[in-house]
Amino acid sequence: MPVRKPTEESGFNRFIDTWRQETLSRRRFLLRMAGGSLALLMPLSQSAQDENGDPDRQWRVLGAVQNRLFPSEANAPGAEELNALDYLKWVVADRKLDAEDRRFILRGVDWLEDLTREVHAQSFSDLSIEQQDAILRRIARSDAGENWLATLLLYLFEALLSDPVYGGNPHEVGWHWLGHRPGFPRPTAHNRYKAG
């Protein structure tokens, strides 16, 4: 019988999320292939280079991408209900997290915007839903683009399933949706992980 289920355990009841490790090491592999340069992995046109790095626009685009990755529905929370954008801001601001992770997420926005302006002459956040989906399908065909979306999903799942003390999963909306039962005692503002 074929194995249908993914093996999310690493064995020995030591719970490492191997998928996080695989996402990151895949990225490092891609970067190495690009000579270690994010600029080569996700190249930008000259005009994009001139206007990149605008934080407001970057977060607007990231929010729009999250809404396509995890759309709101009547009976199921989407990125918006999960506070996923604020959660991602907290992740990106955490200096304890790998600096490369942060650069990769933000560079990806400029790269996506560059492509979008080339095709549609407007920002990703101003496109129709159908146009946005088409662009995401297009970038997912490249290894770098697929890895970028996979990274955003990774933090979306943290916003969906981590304790509300971290800002995602407000009122346990993600846990309720998937019938997940948390353990007690729950983390408090005092003993939770603190970003650096």
Binding site: T7, E9, F15, S25, A150, L161, S162, W177
Partner: protein, 560 residues
């Protein structure tokens, strides 16, 4: 100069705790130098992000890392720093060490584990030796651990059971999951003898510690009731009450200084502010977990130890072992069960507590001509952490999916079934391809070379692991589970590590004497899992605790 303390213990985990407890109880003064912070009972919660997704209990890999060497084609070995690979090899740096995060599956070794070479004969490419002590030397200390650390269980007659000096455990078993009885029924039909797995978990309050609250979140998490017998809750914190224990968290020992006679005179460490400090004592005990203990000895050369403490014959760091094996699984599909049975499977909290050791020694002509060393198959439910499951669901045939299709998949997979696992534990044979050295290029944040670890495994380990996994699969199939499969590989679990400073009767092929005293440094002991020449086929913690209590008795005798 007057020594400040009778004993200086470096590391407060399962290897250090028993020494600290025994010596402070006996009236000696002990200083404990622990690299990590002191998390107390109220600092622990069921926080997936803290326990399992951020470096909350372990160092940031930019500050402290390892270099892991793996085979690179047929040619040689390639080392990759873990800050690059993100393959975190730390296990819990805090007061009490990784015993705070263990699941507490407690198994004793069996008499044959102490004499693998003479019982089963040599295996080509494996550095097999008999231990310099036997099971009867350690048995009283296993019994002591049951009482002092608190081990719960119930003895069941078993064809491969190890002898014990008391009739039963001091604490009754922890509450058991409904499916434990199903495992018993199935195994009965198959002619197998399931054990009730002893746990280092208190089922009722005792010794100033609370009872288990059956939160369902145990392994990888710190215990919020102190029911789990971590070195912190069971040994270190109780030692403080004596007034003879000086516990110093955030104290990173980087060097042991020795005199011309080879004796250790001083431990040098960095405090929270990065200031170098030192401490003197009559006796020093190293218990930093196998890899870091070997690293500290190698980083501490002296006049009488030019290549590192106890390394006159180049043995320090060699014969590192892990636990070989792997895991298997099957699924209870709720829709296929009666409503009552489905409700039983959904129960969260109580433990499965079942293991099979029918093949601890394999007597099967299909496997080998004569008796061969086998191992343990342990049953448990899939870890309840939800984020890794969601992460795995992002992929469909290696392609990323998102949007509504992903959401429908999440709904289905979070609700339709529950995964029962088994874990296989068998010997990781010691070889010349598994050892610890110092990396020539990469330093930690204090400027000391990090450990460089070669991770070669012996092919025989996989053969045994696959045999045991096959037996585990048979049980899951007989229980009627869906999608039964298993995976055995040579990837070492970082939390099940031992060896590197093995004990023996000859200084030429060991680092420690039979008392776990470093050859050539007669006031230096190593009391963590480093001493083990072979690892046995069970998790190590009970044996580490037991041996550290034994070492404490040797130290007491030496202090007089």
């Amino acid at each position: 100069m007057e020594n400040e303390f009778d004993v200086c213990v470096i590391g407060s985990g399962a290897g250090g705790g028993p020494v600290v407890w025994s010596l402070t109880q006996a009236g000696y003064s002990v200083v404990v130098l622990e690299k990590g912070p002191w998390f107390k009972q109220t600092d622990f919660s069921k926080d997936e992000l803290a326990c399992c997704r951020r470096s909350h209990y372990t160092p940031n890999l930019r500050d402290e890392q390892h270099v892991l060497e793996e085979r690179d084609g047929d040619q040689g070995w390639k080392g990759v720093p873990t800050a690059v690979s993100q393959r975190d090899f730390w296990n819990g740096n805090m007061v009490g060490g990784s015993s705070n995060l263990m699941s507490g599956y407690f198994h004793r070794l069996k008499p044959q584990d102490f004499r693998l070479l003479s019982e089963f004969g040599p295996i080509e490419g494996a550095n097999l030796v008999d231990w310099p002590i036997g099971y009867t030397d350690l048995e009283p200390y296993y019994t002591l651990v049951e009482r002092v650390v608190g081990v719960s269980g119930k003895v069941r007659p078993h064809p491969q059971a190890e002898p014990r000096s008391t009739p039963d455990f001091p604490y009754p078993p922890t509450a058991e999951h409904p499916i434990s009885a199903w495992i018993d029924q199935t195994c009965g039909k198959l002619g197998l003898h399931p054990l009730r797995v002893p746990r280092a978990i208190l089922p009722r309050p005792d010794m100033g510690r609370g009872a288990c609250s059956y939160s369902g979140y145990c392994g990888s998490y710190g215990c919020s009731t102190n029911a789990k017998g971590s070195s912190r809750a069971a040994l270190i914190e109780p030692s403080l009450i004596t007034g003879r224990c000086d516990l110093r968290p955030h104290a990173k020992v980087y060097r042991l200084r020795s005199d011309a006679k080879g004796r250790v005179v001083q431990a040098d460490y960095f405090d929270t502010q990065g200031m170098s400090r030192s401490v003197s004592a009559r006796i020093f005990v190293v218990a930093c977990q196998a890899i870091e203990s070997a690293r500290l000895l190698l980083a501490s050369p002296g006049t009488a130890h030019p290549d590192g403490l106890g390394n006159r014959h180049g043995q320090v760091g060699r014969n590192l072992v892990f636990s070989a094996g792997g895991s298997g699984s099957g699924y209870f599909t709720y829709a296929k069960l009666s409503p009552e049975k489905a409700a039983q499977v959904r129960v969260l909290g109580p433990f499965v507590n079942r293991a099979l050791q029918d093949w601890y020694t394999i007597e099967d002509p299909v496997f080998a001509k004569g008796p061969a060393k086998g191992g343990t198959v342990d049953f448990l439910f899939s870890h309840p952490n939800p984020i890794p499951l969601a992460n795995a669901l992002r992929w469909e045939k290696d392609k990323l999916i998102w949007g509504k299709p992903l959401k429908r998949k999440l709904e289905k997979w979070f609700s339709e079934d529950r995964k029962l696992l088994f874990e296989v534990f068998n010997d990781w044979l010691p070889t010349d391809d598994c050892f610890v050295g110092l990396d020539p290029n990469i330093n930690d944040k204090w400027g000391s070379p990090v450990a460089r670890v070669r991770l070669g495994a012996h092919p025989h380990d996989l053969k045994v692991g696959r045999y045991l996994a096959g037996q585990g699969e048979k049980v899951l199939r007989a229980m009627g589970l869906d999608w039964v499969s298993s995976s055995v590989n040579a990837s070492p679990p970082p939390n099940l590590v031992a060896g590197g400073c093995r004990f023996g009767n000859d200084p030429k092929d060991s680092v420690l004497d039979p008392d776990c005293r470093v050859w050539g440094a007669d006031n230096l002991f190593v009391s963590d899992a480093s001493f083990m020449p072979t690892g046995g086929s069970v998790p190590y913690t009970w044996t580490i605790y037991a041996n550290a209590f034994r070492v404490a008795d040797k130290i007491k005798r030496q202090l007089g």
